[in-house]
Amino acid sequence: MMNNSIEVKELTKYFGELLAVDHVSFDVEAGEIFGFLGPNGAGKTTTMRMLTNLTRPSEGSASILGMDTVRDSLAIKAVVGIVPEASNVFFELTTMANLTFTGALYGLRRKKRAARADELIALFGLDEYRDKKSVELSLGFRRRLTIAMSLMHGPRVVFLDEPTSGLDVESSRLIRGIIQDLHKDGVTVFITTHNMEEANQLCHRIAVINASRLIAIDTPERLKQAATKSQSVEVSFDRMLESGEEAGLSGLPCVIEMRSLGDKYHLVTSDPPCVLAAIPSFMSERGLKPVSINTFGPSLEDVFVQLTATDKEAS
């Protein structure tokens, strides 16, 4: 039994002199939701385009479900769904016509196309727009339609480029729910995103790419453990602190950095219990009462910032 849906070996892409992706290697297990994170221009989309053979690699190779992405391109496209960053629906066609046309490109029979299109229209909440031209759809509904089109043929691997970027909460939640349903159905999902929270909520493993190179790959929680210096204590008092008091707070033992966030103070630390032990005496000396005190582990965003900063320093 094959364990990996996607295998990438030393994948490299040059655009002229520019090195867009630099010898990237990783595997994605069957049925996994795999996140591909990186800042703009890091090489996320180029990597995805190489995996789907929309761009030829300059060096290295990749396989999907055991098939070579270049040699077996058409066979791979028959079992893969692709959602690009831009919602590229045909504005002049109705929602239904966009779906059935996509079905026809995958060789689905007329009856099956219509049935599958109706199924996806219901799943994505597009019933109201079934016979409306796509130009009339809002950004969120166009995005839903784009994703629905990629699922017309029941793919075994789905590539999503920034699936919820710029969407309203309702559309984002619906799309995340559908991604989780795909995982339950055994579909492998490859997501490129720079939305840390989305990656944290959805992905089983995350690869971080920066300046064309893969700099980390692990589960979200293990990646967070690598950023222990980015834990924090957030405290809010019954009144705002004066400047001298703020200096006192930032000078508490174990506080690395203090940031004022609205009516709260965010104390970055590698040892939250140490900071918590110091706060009561700080308050009693100044006659302060606590409104709230919370501790936070490192966020994926902290991990990302730390990793990319370390990589920048190293290079």
């Binding site: 789907t52 690009p84 831009a86 590229n88």
Partner: protein
Amino acid sequence: MSEATSAARKPVAWDGLRKAWAISSKDMKIYYFQPAVLMFGLMFPVAIFFAFMMGRDIEAVTLFPGLIALTLFFSTTTVAPFSVPWEKMNRTFERLLFAPVSMFDAVLGKVMSAFIFGFVICLFPLAIGLIFFGSTIGDWAALILAIVLGNLCMATMGMLISTVKADTPPKVMMVLNFVRLPLMFISGIFVPIQTLPLYGRILAWFSPVSYVVDLLRSGLGFPNYWDMWVCVLMLIAFTVVMFVASVLRMKAWNR
């Protein structure tokens, strides 16, 4: 029997043809009634024709092979140079690349939609000539070959032009007219090839439109310049070369 098993038992060419037809049908729905297509494909040749005819002492019936050729030439070559950059601009052309559609089938689909458009449009001046201006059919075979092979060749020419490095329809239309306008004058549309000066007669060999006009002249009972088989072979050769060049250029995008 599952869809996949059933598809596997079907010949690959048939599967490709079905996908190409899906692309054509979609193009027909979207592009046939676009103002730019109607203007450059229909109004433009009619306007040029009347600009040439008005005020000149020429029997209208003698100009019909030229009018039909001009309509066929302009209408058929307009569809792909509008639709391909339009889809590149809106990134909808990528939809074809995402799917298991070979570049051959994608190009075939685009060519088929242009062929059908030109085929239908060029029947109008033919019918007008036959009904109102006393045109007669001198050679059915030549006429049918002119319409079928001529449309196919012009559709492929439009497809090839649409592969130029330009990302918007107006830029491609500019290149299209840069090619079309000179061809109009060396192809015997307004003046029969046999009456062109020597350099015109030499240049006429290099224009596929010349062979369409010559076949149409035979078809409508006027003296022709080349034998029918020369025109047929040249149109087939131009079609094959331009089709292959279109597929190769489209594949190059992928690299």
